[in-house]
Subunit: 183 residues, 2 copies
Amino acid sequence: MSVNYAILGLLNSRPMSGYDLKKIMQDSLHMYWSGNNNQIYKALVQLRSDDFLTVETHHQDGAPSKKIYHVTDKGRVALDAWICSTPPETPEFKKPFLIQLAGAGRLKPEALEVLVLQYEHQLNTQLKMQQEKRRRANPFPGCTDQEKWIEDMIFDNILTFYQSELEWTRRVLEGLRQKIREE
Amino acid sequence: MSVNYAILGLLNSRPMSGYDLKKIMQDSLHMYWSGNNNQIYKALVQLRSDDFLTVETHHQDGAPSKKIYHVTDKGRVALDAWICSTPPETPEFKKPFLIQLAGAGRLKPEALEVLVLQYEHQLNTQLKMQQEKRRRANPFPGCTDQEKWIEDMIFDNILTFYQSELEWTRRVLEGLRQKIREE
DNA sequence: CATGCCATGTAAGGCGTTACATGATTTC
DNA sequence: GAAATCATGTAACGCCTTACATGGCATG
């Protein structure tokens, strides 16, 4: 149930509404859930019944009223405990492209090259999007130095992921071109 | 439904049973499903009803009888079509550690260091396991050069993933230690 | 004598996804 | 006048996972 703690963590650095959480989760890559309503609102109910959150309803005219969630002391304790006592899991990945590649043993190298070039293009696009996101991301006021640094490191992690995948792609292309020359 | 094509691809390079498929999927990292019975046997039924597979039952005494699946011409055509006409998706990742890190803004750098060191250890273990697997992996006979090369590239991809994650971890540790010194 | 491997399959449940529902305001 | 944004929530479905079921043989 790490979604709950992810949400708790976000609310701990800044109280906000379910809708705000949704937007953040939708365009962050390291929060690997899609950021759908079902999960978020369900999690908020759960966290509230654990007394990890309190709610403050803000009525605004011209827009539906907001529920701003605040983390309680109990919630903060639980969050810290979870962070410190959860043994770090090994990261996982899903690369459907590797499935395609694995089945391509009998394909012509030329056909494979087309595929790999498409993949490279895809990765480049993604990398640029992510870099653009980093440039636009300005830390909200009242954010500590350490929080800024952590956010930076997370961005670094994501960018590194795409960059190393791109480097691998280039190695693959080199190998393929050698195969094509040898034909 | 890329599980089906993953299975089709495996059977294309070598006919085998559901049980064999299960073992392969369980200890391959790039086939990101757990390799559970439910998926595999269901997929085999589907692929057979599509006429992508034929079955050959091998009765063996002293052990339950095997069903060896072979890919049909129709199946091979479908596989190649899928491989060549599926636009490569961007890879995804799940790094629960980043969730922990994201919530650690108010934690002491010393506590964070402990966590990161644990993560580093975890990654090192995983990397060694993977390298060991590669050393033991000997290509089955009748495997083409290109198939061997592809398998190599997939291994390369996986190892690169862990290595670049480890390098990132070291950058994080450096930053953290600087923070500790500055205190 | 218990555990594990071979080998096939089924059942139940959790997590996560898309889509639905509502309703006012702003933007094109 | 259509579509997007703000805002909260529900419903249905599908994928994937664990666990169950069977049963003989081999290993410690």
